[in-house]
């Protein structure tokens, strides 16, 4: 365990403090010595653990997992919210009180059990036994959410906050969870903007509707926890979550430099930690990010990188989360994934926040996200980013089991190719489950794409 904890960026004092909790949580999760050894090997192989900032980010994930597993035993009220959450709101739930623990548990399954331990499949299979059956097109992310509970890795919730803006599967799965564990269920939902081409603007009625739902959810949180949850709570959560967001934006900006200073595998660990908004991420994330930022700035200053300087620059949607071997393929075939097409665009970040209340601001921010707006928003957003960063190609993973990400890829491919003249590949993919799509299958599609981009780049220069 010591070697594992060192890979998590812990010092002696923290190791002493956390060791009993780690032992207890790993026993509950069924992680034995062999699993820990395997995780050590995977962390060394796949992640840039030479960087202390990366070790600390990995450590935050693992500690978040331990906190989630032990939350009930440690006397906390438990709230599970859906991924991706309403960010400022999720952070507010996470830091509202030491007596409350809030998280999207599915991401802990994907990143900690999946990417770090390679023990994700049994959790998905657990969900398939009675509820979200195999071969029926259920979202593996939701299988991870339900399976983690059914396997008793995570304790029963006191409240479930379900997000169903553009996905019907999440609320339906949460209804099962709420019924199984006799927990109240709060819904945060909406529908696509009726004016698909007005993005990044959002129709006012949608904001009002989501605000009303957030307010209702806040009242349910107060009822379940007995703790006040008001505008001050949200302001505080929003402000605290903003600290890590600022660092993330700086690190994402450094990822546009050549040679690339940070692998996409590591960028995933950071990006999802920020999106997940757990207490550890909010509290410890800024320090880990500031260390990482300094380390990356040094790399940039010395011209050091993880790929050759002239590697084709690509943008990507939904690289793998649970199976880091698939993400590794992208760089192994020589592609530099500088940009997530889900990153905020200039249009979004420069949008005037006209709304006076923080409730409206977080609702507006949430609904401005292309996945919560419209298919046209996706395409506009992707076009804008691909153009702004002048990428050589785009990987638009087509997620056949995802309500949000299955609709637009072919149309987006056609529009980007036609308008920007850059190649786009839209392979069928599942970033949450490696049972159908393996690294070898992914490689067979991405490698010729990389060859094609290199040839085009040579020609251009």
């Amino acid at each position: 365990m010591r070697e594992f904890m060192l890979l998590c960026g812990m010092d002696e004092a923290e190791m002493r403090l956390e060791l009993p909790r780690f032992n207890k949580a790993f026993a509950i999760a069924g992680l034995n010595q062999a699993d820990i050894k395997q995780a050590e090997a995977r962390l060394n192989r796949y992640f840039d653990v030479k960087l202390m900032g990366m070790r600390k980010l990995i450590g935050i994930w693992v500690k978040e997992f331990v906190d989630a597993v032990l939350a009930k035993q440690e006397g906390k009220k438990i709230i599970y919210y859906s991924y991706p959450p309403v960010s400022g709101f999720a952070a507010s739930m996470a830091i509202m009180s030491p007596d409350v623990y809030a998280i999207a548990p599915e991401l802990l399954v994907e990143i900690v059990l999946g990417a770090f331990f390679d023990k994700m499949t049994p959790v998905l299979e657990e969900a398939e036994k009675e509820w979200l059956g195999p071969g029926l097109g259920h979202c593996p992310l939701l299988q991870a959410r339900l399976g983690g509970l059914l396997k008793s890795i995570f304790p029963a919730p006191d409240l479930v906050v379900s997000m169903g803006v553009s996905c019907d599967q999440a609320p339906e799965t949460d209804e099962i969870i709420a019924a199984l564990y006799d927990a109240p269920l709060a819904y945060l939902d909406s529908r696509s903007d009726s004016q698909g081409d007005n993005w990044p603007l959002v129709e006012k009625w949608r904001i009002d509707y989501l605000v009303a739902e957030i307010r209702d959810t806040a009242r349910m949180i107060e009822k379940v926890t007995g703790i006040e949850f008001n505008e001050d709570t949200i302001n505080y959560g929003n402000k605290e979550a903003g600290k890590m967001r600022e660092y993330q934006m700086k690190i994402l900006a450094l990822r546009k430099k050549e040679p690339q200073p940070l692998s996409i595998k590591d960028a995933q660990v950071l990006g999802e930690l920020r999106t997940t908004c757990g207490l550890r991420a909010v509290k410890e994330g800024p320090n880990a990010c500031s260390i990482l930022l300094e380390e990356l700035e040094r790399r940039v200053a010395h011209g050091e990188g993880v790929l050759p300087k002239d590697a084709p620059r690509i943008a990507i949607v939904m690289p793998d989360y649970g199976d880091v071997a698939q993400t590794e393929v992208i760089e192994n075939v020589g592609l530099n994934a500088i940009l997530y097409l889900t990153e905020p665009t200039r249009a979004e970040t420069e949008k005037a926040w006209a709304y006076g209340s923080v409730w409206e601001q977080i609702a507006d921010l949430t609904l401005t996200g292309a996945s919560r707006h419209s298919s046209q928003a996706y395409i506009s957003k992707f076009m804008g980013l691909a153009k702004e960063y002048n990428v050589d190609g785009v990987i638009l993973n087509s997620l056949s089991k995802c309500r949000e990400y299955a609709i637009y890829p072919l149309k987006a491919k056609e529009v980007i190719e036609r308008e920007l003249g850059i190649p786009v590949i839209a392979p069928e993919h599942d970033p949450w489950d490696n049972r159908e799509f393996t690294a070898d299958i992914f490689r067979s599609r991405i490698e010729p794409f990389a060859e094609m981009l290199r040839e085009r780049k040579k020609l251009k220069s």
Binding site: L410, P427, F437, P448
Partner: protein, 262 residues
């Protein structure tokens, strides 16, 4: 000017192919089943092709390997993906080629080329075998037909059956069930080719095919498949003399390029 001898080896899921090239001339080629040991198959097929040209492996100046087994070819100097090799090979045989449709044992691809034979765009079938040669092989086995009989038998059909193209295993059950209901063998196999042609044509249309369209891969040797595909696409396909070795030819051409760079 004598440049030397160059080898291109395409180690596919079903067959390994080799082409021996010198001064832009194909000296010989060979095809052999890949079997379990892909490295041995690569060696076997290359030696066979070399023997046909009266040459030895030691005389090969540069070799490029492609296909699924490209990484384990022991004598290969460089690997190139099969997409790039098929484009290059087809463009060499048909200089006006702008689109390649390749159906191999394990996958199918549609490739758009520029005027110099470089890949501009491509699509491949996803995780399923239903758009591939293996689909035909499985059904042919069920119908007790030899591979070479499939095309001619299909052409005799008057009323092709409607067969699902989404899954090889389900399609096989469907064929068994239809056979049990007395449907003729030629109608069943013609239906299978039609289903495959529909699936591949959707793929091909997504790269906006421009003439000349060259049909490559082992399945291109099936006359029934060529006809079904032409019907679906609404235009004629150009067929190389030996469509199965186009990828290996492309690999051999890349090998020759390497020599010219020196």
């Amino acid at each position: 000017m004598k440049e030397g001898i160059f080898a291109g080896v395409d180690v596919g899921a079903g067959t390994a192919k080799a082409v021996i090239l010198s001064n832009d001339k194909i000296l010989a080629y060979a095809v052999t089943p890949t079997g379990f040991d892909a490295a041995a198959a690569a060696l076997r097929v290359t030696r066979r092709a070399l023997r046909r040209a009266g040459l030895k492996l030691s005389e090969v100046k540069y070799a490029v390997s492609t296909g699924y087994g490209r990484e384990i070819v022991p004598f290969s100097n460089r690997t190139v993906t099969e997409i790039t090799c098929h484009a290059r090979g087809a463009s060499f045989l048909f200089p006006e080629c702008r689109t390649v449709i390749d159906i191999g044992c394990q996958d199918s691809k549609a490739i758009r080329l520029d005027e110099r034979g470089r890949v501009m765009q491509f699509v491949m079938n996803d995780k399923c075998a239903a758009g591939t040669g293996r689909f035909i092989e499985v059904i042919a086995h069920t119908l007790r037909l030899k591979i070479e009989e499939i095309g001619p038998v299909a052409l005799t059909s008057q009323s092709p059956c409607a067969i699902s193209s989404t899954c090889t295993v389900f399609a096989e059950s469907e064929v068994v069930s239809l056979r049990g209901r007395g449907r003729k063998r030629e109608d069943l196999i013609a239906g299978v080719l039609q289903a495959l042609a529909k699936r591949v044509s959707i793929q091909a249309n997504s790269v906006r095919p421009a003439p000349v369209v060259v049909f490559t891969g082992g399945v291109a040797k099936n006359i029934g498949m060529k006809q079904a595909l032409e019907k679906e696409l609404g235009f004629k396909l150009s067929l190389p003399e030996e469509p199965q070795v186009v990828g290996a030819l492309g690999a051999a051409l890349f090998a020759q390029d390497e020599s010219r760079k020196e």
